[in-house]
């Protein structure tokens, strides 16, 4: 990383301001604003078709915005000279010539950016593509290998900013862990990372901050803790020596309680459960925020955009009959 980043965590490297993109009557991106800071991995989370890719394409100038603006390090992307040296971009790992080898693809990128050939081998090693694999044509790559190559391509110019669209897509669990390590250490050196995903688990693993988008609108943003704290529908898992007494006490306070394994699932934040227990002198053996709280939040926030509405699948009507 060239430059003097990494110190200030309260400065924004990427600023998206009131971004809107319309296609006729359809609003793909609707007044979106968020910021990404150096030293942090920001996850851009939303279901398919929520507007993540359109937003990222606008950020790098491939799609014109209808209104609003994006600045990266104070610049419009198109005004950054030799932008590959400042902003690493991976929008679609499959969007490379299928007949080129991985090495040739990196060579073209390195030549465009004016980088020495040695950089190609460094990047191949960084993403664990062997010399033999680098000489294979892209059409023979698995999706996971394409993603690794795409990451290598994005990192070629030693940029201060990374913009990655669904980079974990197609990676196996070990690959996702590898990417988490890679992006964390990149951010620790002062880099700014924006990565998108439609899978909450991926983002939860990799990202420090989250921006949730649904139906083209930002529905929530912040780090994981503040997202959960702001959610009125937090759930806790609690186990007490006397579960019965605790359940009664919690119900009296208006929380809904259901048995879960050896304990209880409560529609309250852990702090409320703990307070209730303390007041009643009930001994707790386990108390934590329920796993999936964030998932519930995500599903709820994006509920109107989900495609999986519970409609029943009907058998096809035989031709000629009137339904």
């Amino acid at each position: 990383m060239r430059g003097r980043l990494g110190s200030g965590r309260l400065v924004a490297m990427i600023k998206v301001e009131n971004l809107t993109r319309k296609y006729g009557a359809f609003v793909a991106v609707d007044n979106v604003s968020f910021e990404c800071r150096p030293g942090r991995v920001t996850g851009f989370l939303g279901p398919n078709g929520a507007g993540k890719t359109t937003t990222m394409r606008i950020m790098v100038g491939l799609t014109p915005a209808t209104s609003g603006r994006v600045s990266i390090g104070g610049y419009d992307f198109k005004d950054i000279p030799n932008p590959g040296r400042h902003v690493g971009v991976l929008l679609d790992a499959s969007a490379q010539h299928a007949g080129r080898t991985g090495r040739e693809i990196l060579t073209i990128g390195a030549e465009t950016m004016g980088l020495p050939k040695s950089r190609i081998d460094e990047m191949l090693e960084l993403v664990s593509l062997t010399p033999a694999e680098s000489k294979r044509r892209l059409k023979n790559y698995s999706l996971g290998m394409k993603q690794r190559l795409g990451i290598a391509h994005a990192l070629l110019g030693d940029p201060e900013v990374l913009i990655l669209d669904e980079p974990a897509n197609g990676l196996d669990p070990a690959g996702i862990r590898w990417m988490r390590g890679l992006l964390k250490s990149y951010a620790d050196r002062g880099g700014t990372v924006l990565l998108s995903s439609h899978l909450l688990n991926e983002v939860e693993l990799i990202a420090d901050e989250m921006v949730l988008i649904g139906n083209g609108r930002i529905v929530a943003q912040g780090d994981k803790k503040s997202l959960l704290a702001n959610s009125a529908h937090d759930e806790s898992l609690v186990t007490a020596l006397d579960n019965e007494a605790l359940a009664t006490a919690l119900r009296q306070r208006g929380f809904s309680v259901t048995p879960a394994g050896e304990g209880l699932r409560v529609t309250a934040q852990p702090v409320e459960v703990g307070r209730t227990a303390a007041e009643r002198g009930i001994v707790l053996t386990d108390l934590r925020a329920a796993e999936g709280g964030l998932e519930n939040l995500f599903l709820e926030l994006t509920a109107s955009t989900q495609r999986e509405a519970p409609t029943s699948l009907q058998a096809p009507t035989p031709e000629g009959t009137v339904a």
Binding site: R2, L62, Y75
Partner: protein, 279 residues
């Protein structure tokens, strides 16, 4: 993230813009580093060799009597044909394959100035056109020496400057037209089909018949088709036997055909790509 903060500024002082010549070099590499490019060059090479071999053999073995064939004819009438058949496809794929393979997203993320990228590609297409001219000239020179030796006369090297100029213009224009059509049409197969229909199939099948059938077509076609517009500069006779003259009218027709096949496709294609959404 609600805290409003001063944006951080990238230090771009040590990164100059990507030099134009570097873009040209990269685009040349991208044109020739794929299997499609390799086969196109290989087949063209074979065609050139076969033509050279054929014309040399004919020159060596045939009884041509007193007719002497010189460099000019070998160059303009013979060797330019094999290098003109397939190579313009490069001028099409250098644009269209970026869309077909979706590498345009990578290309324009590394150089957001689409105009700069397209100009670099255009320069590569024109360089390719000149390369074909040079290859054809070298082969014509070899054939000239061989044929003259076989027929036992001293080879003629005289070339009419005007003919040479127009042949260079025709060749470069073919590449630029192909390039412009590719920008307008984007799809590789469709652009290739349209290019060959306009430059090869229509002139061979439709124009030649219409030319002899209708007087009005003889008046109109030199304004529209480049090879007819170029005829007065290349030949002493029109296809129907009328003598040609290089006058103001001939230049006006040449300008008209050039506008139609150079300026229009380039203009329409450029404005399309500069405004398009790159997906």
């Amino acid at each position: 993230m609600t805290t409003s903060t001063a944006p951080l500024t990238l230090d771009v002082s040590r990164t100059p813009a990507v030099p134009f010549l570097r873009l040209v070099r990269v685009e040349w590499r991208k044109m020739t580093d794929t299997r499609g490019g390799f086969w196109l060059l290989l087949i063209t090479g074979i065609l050139v060799l076969l033509t050279l071999l054929g014309v040399s053999l004919v020159g060596l073995l045939s009884d041509m009597g007193s007719t002497e064939i010189g460099f000019e004819d070998l160059y303009l009438q013979v060797m330019l044909i094999p290098v003109s058949l397939l190579v313009p496809v490069f001028a099409i794929t250098i644009v269209s394959s970026e869309w077909g393979q979706r590498t345009n997203m990578v290309t324009f993320a590394l150089e957001p100035s689409r105009l700069k990228v397209l100009l670099a590609k255009l320069v590569v297409a024109v360089l390719m056109a000149f390369a074909t001219l040079v290859v054809a000239a070298i082969c014509a020179a070899i054939a000239n020496v061989v044929v003259a030796a076989g027929q036992d006369y001293s080879p003629s090297w005289s070339v009419d400057g005007q003919k040479l100029f127009v042949s260079v213009v025709v060749q470069v224009l073919a590449f630029v037209t192909a390039f412009g059509l590719a920008m307008c049409i984007i799809s590789t197969p469709a652009a290739i089909a349209v290019y060959y229909i306009i430059t090869l199939i229509l002139p061979l099948i439709a124009y030649s018949i219409l030319y002899f059938a209708f007087g009005w077509f003889r008046d109109v076609i030199p304004w529209l088709d480049f090879s007819y517009a170029a005829t007065p500069f290349m030949s002493e006779f029109w296809p129907n036997g009328d003598p040609t003259t290089v006058d103001g009218l001939a230049w006006a027709r040449l300008a008209s055909a050039t506008f139609l096949w150079l300026v229009v496709p380039l203009g329409v294609g450029l404005s399309r790509i500069l405004r398009a959404e790159i997906k």
